[in-house]
Symmetry: C2
Subunit: 324 residues, 2 copies
């Protein structure tokens, strides 16, 4: 499935391969949030997915399509993709090696190891990661499963949107966060041929996707600065192609940016009202509505699906306790 024009059937096929493996995550709602926003919001809870993010869908799908005889996979990741790949590989008795920067958060390193993955540390630069990964591939014969710029990954991530289409009685739009673009591109494919519009939401501090789509040229990522750590990666090439072809079409894809303050407010609101632990990246779609308003986005009175992409945060202090 690596060749040919990207199409919705990729996602439909992926959903069949993932049946019984990835969770069918629930949809949460809040009457008070709906009332405040002026639209009906369906929170698709991928923070409740296995390993705490949608990344488990793509990683599991890539492994379902692994060439015969491969017994070791590898990737570089400082976050959710590494843990998802380790967990998916463990379930298939395949070894997983995750190249992580020495600066990676301890809890994320621990998660990869808890899922049975091997961690290989490297320097902080992307070049360091790539050379460390090349070494793992050369020395172990490992098969690389990239985090987002990969047809198998894109198709797997799109299955969350397919589920949402099935779970929602009516749906006007879906808002997804964008970083490398695996979830955004997969969702774009999943929504093809439907009447549901796709809105992609990006932190202003990491707005390479917005600029790339506006100019029709793939720009490199900005230096990591946003609190939404899952969205710091630059848009992938295949992901850009898929998003670009429906960008600006009537009823098609649009993109909006959000401030850091809006991301924090949206994260807070989900924690407080829905009692769900969400990572800042997963609150970016809600931040878009909170910051710009349902009316300005054409969403007033509409039913909107928000992809809550993940819930992996450094451990928060328990209020009232001394473990600050």
């Amino acid at each position: 499935m690596r060749s040919g024009t990207p199409r919705r059937q990729w996602v439909v096929d992926a959903a069949e391969r993932l049946a019984g493996c990835a969770q069918r995550t629930p949809v949460f709602t809040s009457a008070s949030i709906n009332s405040e926003l002026g639209c009906e919001v369906l929170f698709k809870c991928e923070n409740l997915q296995t390993t705490g993010s949608f990344k488990f869908r793509g990683a599991s799908h890539a492994l379902a399509l692994l060439p015969k005889g491969v017994d070791c996979v590898a990737t570089h990741s400082s976050g959710n993709h590494g843990a998802a790949l380790a967990r998916a590989a463990h379930a298939r008795s395949i070894r997983a090696v995750v190249v992580m920067p020495e600066s990676a958060v301890a809890s994320k390193v621990a998660a990869v190891r808890a899922y049975g993955g091997e961690v290989v540390f490297c320097g902080a630069l992307m070049a360091d990661r790539e050379s460390a990964l090349s070494e793992v591939v050369a020395s172990r014969g490992a098969h690389v499963v990239p985090p987002y710029d990969d047809a198998r990954i894109i198709a797997g991530q799109g299955t969350a949107a397919l589920e949402l289409l099935d779970q929602a009685e009516t749906l006007h739009s879906v808002i997804v966060p964008v970083g490398g673009g695996g979830l955004a591109a997969g969702t774009a494919l999943a929504l093809e041929g439907s009447s549901v519009a796709l809105i992609v939401a990006e932190p202003s501090l990491a707005d390479d996707a917005a600029r790339s789509l506006r100019d029709g040229v793939l720009y490199p990522p900005l230096p990591p600065a946003t609190i939404a750590d899952g969205l710091r990666a630059g848009l992938g090439e295949l992901n850009f192609q898929i998003l670009n072809r429906s960008y600006g079409d009537a009823g098609g894809l649009s993109i909006g940016c959000v401030s850091e303050a809006a991301i924090v407010s949206a994260t807070q609101l989900i924690w407080q009202r829905l009692k769900l632990v969400v990572e800042p990246s997963g609150a970016v779609p809600l931040a878009l509505i909170m910051e710009h308003g349902a009316a300005a986005l054409g969403l007033e009175g509409k039913t909107v699906g928000l992809m809550v992409s993940g819930g992996n945060v450094d451990f928060p202090r328990i209020p009232g306790s001394a473990n600050a």
Copy 2:
């Protein structure tokens, strides 16, 4: 229903009255937690109940049984009962007055007001609360809805356990936290006549219920010290009677205490693994298994329901943000 011997039918009747009003909360599970504990744990998510705690059940039930002509209810509360009563009263177009200590957490004061309740401040002592409440009753003709020592409240809180019995294919025990004892007593009634054992869990720093049941005498509460702020109240009289009559029976009720460290660890585990925001009081049942071990509690390999009583915490800092 204020008189007569407390019995299971109270809870069954309450469930009928609450249909379409209180949420049927979901049950969450975690394969990794089960594996670590050595038993199968069903988390009954009352943190996802309307107003963020089981208190909405009892408050709504008391209002469903309100004498005709009453148009104003009142209570004193520094926490979840006040918000629940305000919300339940608002739904019935009844005024609610909540007497709160001036030291009450700002977010809890805000919650009562957000649900349309009126806040009357008082001093920090229980005597201050009672005199302020008496004044409200005298000046407004308000009907008092106590937080836990009340048959209507107990019956309402017990409906969470009835739901759990229906949701679980098999169930060996249920563990509930105890403070004033509304949830514990209601659960005891709900489980009467079943083969399901009830284990009541209490912070060691607020162990008046454990000492009262052990000695068969109702002791007053300890000064507030535990992080589990929902469990600082002393056991109510009716609640004590209900718990005491099945305490120590074979297959009946037992009680265990937990350290503050275990409460913090259990709260952390629920946030991290289940991605659910739980307040420390709601993690006390899990803390009991973590601290004492499934084997010592006779729960090894068994299916155990844990009542996650609420999710209302002071707002946690979003990791990575500056809003500490």
